[in-house]
Amino acid sequence: MDPVQGKDPGKSTFAEYDYSNFYYGAGDDPLNLLGPFSDWWREARPNGYYLYSEALQSAPATRVQVRNGKTGRVQELINLASYNYLGISYRPEVKQAAIDATNLYGLGASGSPILSGTLEVHRQLAREMAEFKDKEAAILFPTGYSANVGFIAALMRSGDYIILDQYSHASIVDGAILAKSNTLWFRHNNPLDLERKLNKAKGKKLVVVEGVYSMDGDVCVLPEIVEVAKRHGARILIDEAHSTFLFGPNGRGVAEHFGLDNEVDFHLGTFSKSLGGQGGFVCGSRDLIDYVNAFGRSRFFSCNLAPPVAAGLLAGLRIAAAEPELRTKLWSNVAYLRRRFAEEGVDIGKSTSQVMPVMVNNDARVFAVAEKIQDRGLFLQPVTYPAVPKHKSRLRVSVSAAHTEEDLETAVHVVAGVLREEGIIR
């Protein structure tokens, strides 16, 4: 059945709808939305949505083997889509650490961290993570998502106020929902609007920001945010998912970059971005970590990180701490790509980080642009509404320290060439 039954037969309708149209549906059966969604998906997938979740046949390194979601053909592509900002996850010492841990512990932790699932490698990883962040203690979560959900819900309660940047990650949003607190949203990176929202909040208040915003690659205006939040007696949580190991003199993140490490109350991050692994963490005082250990339900009721992953992360953390030249190389690559994109007239929005949105600004054509770019050798996904605002569609580039100048130059040629052919840039 066509979701827009009654229109001209054979007329393409997938572009008229997006995921947001299939979320709400009143009626007498929760399955009522499945039919219209399936009808739409059957048309949307071959028209570009197949570009999501294409299966990699190799490590998420700077070159990847990818099975094309439409043709089934395996292509070798330059990878500009994976996080792995420091190119660590496939380093020999990381893989060896995971192998050794598999030999020692086997596959899984076989238990919750608060019962039988804490292994020595977990304790060591938490200890060294706390040292890296220069905090008293750290606590591990199975994913970055569960870190935000578990931490926010561990701390905040019904009747409290959580004030979020409008571009907050879904895990922060879901944490606020789970906390059942009053949730207020301030305009993205706008301290004036934060102040307006804080004026409406009473009692316990938590302001949540991200170090680097994942769809735009812009950096939090932390000094202004901290000033406003402090004046209103609000606590501050910073999610440094895309900035830990990258920003600041010691790589601790955006809070360190601004010299505000001790002004921010709660430091959260993931191991899946810069280290290219899996898992999340919160760093802070011993008292804080003990409390979160007791009330962080997303961790409490999950199996602990698989030991090979924890061991690989520990090896990766040691590399990130011992090799600051990786950060230097990353920022050199970022500067190179920024300069070359600017020379070619490619719009990367307000990005000042390793995350660069290549703005297409045309929801109807972003998939065609992305298909062409993949056909010409780049692994790079489109991002469109509702993940970003309407007509703010883009291709999200992730720069890695492991990229060579040749990789980046090829990327510039392909991206600028396709955007020019499609009339997106001149």
């Binding site: 059945m1 979701p3 827009v4 039954q5 009654g6 229109k7 008229e16 709808y17 149209n21 299939f22 709400y24 549906g25 009143a26 009626g27 009522n32 939305l33 039919g35 219209p36 739409w40 409008q166 949003v173 606020a176 929902i177 009053n182 949730t183 207020l184 949203w185 409406k200 605002p389 309407k390 007509h391 703010k392």
Partner: protein, 222 residues
Amino acid sequence: MKTVYGYADVISGFFEFPTENARRILPPHLQPAELHHGTSIFSMTCFDFDRSSVGPYGEVVMSVVVAPIVKPGERLPKFALYPYMVGTTTRAAREHAIERWHLPHWMEDVGIEWVRDERTLGAKVTLDGTPLAELTIGEHSWQPVEQLYQSFMKDESGAYQANIVMEGEQSEHEEETGRLVLHDHPFNRVLQIGDVAEAPFREIWMRRGIQTFDPLLTLQTA
């Protein structure tokens, strides 16, 4: 039988406002569509109808965006609205809409002054010269569209659903170029005005099109 209205321009702004305010407006059988947890969507729409069975007229519709009714085999709506206050520039239009669509009205004629700028269209709604609301919408790229919406109504006689197809040229965007000014007046009494965002997160402008109503569906009788 379908009812057709022709319009020169229609502008709609969609604004964040608290879900607790939305729930105070909605009848129990309707659920607000939330933009974020705790944040629902208030919509103001102004019509410049140039063809109808009751002649040309202007109309302002204040609504809450709600979950649409989805049924297997039926066309999927783009979204659904619960109009809780409608103002018209003529008595004939008002009587027609009350009788046929059970739409709740302000029972005096309102004035709608259209303010056209290079890339914006605004509507200033007044009552005997007293300002009620002002909506400004910015222009983006234009596309021909034909889209289905649902409108839900409730009065002392029952609960109703209207399926409405909007055809015409459409400019839709989220550039936050528009503006809303709500004045402290009984017309806006159900809104906590200070809690309604002043900038629309979405702006829709349609022009040179038709609005077609399917026959009214009765969901529940009193």
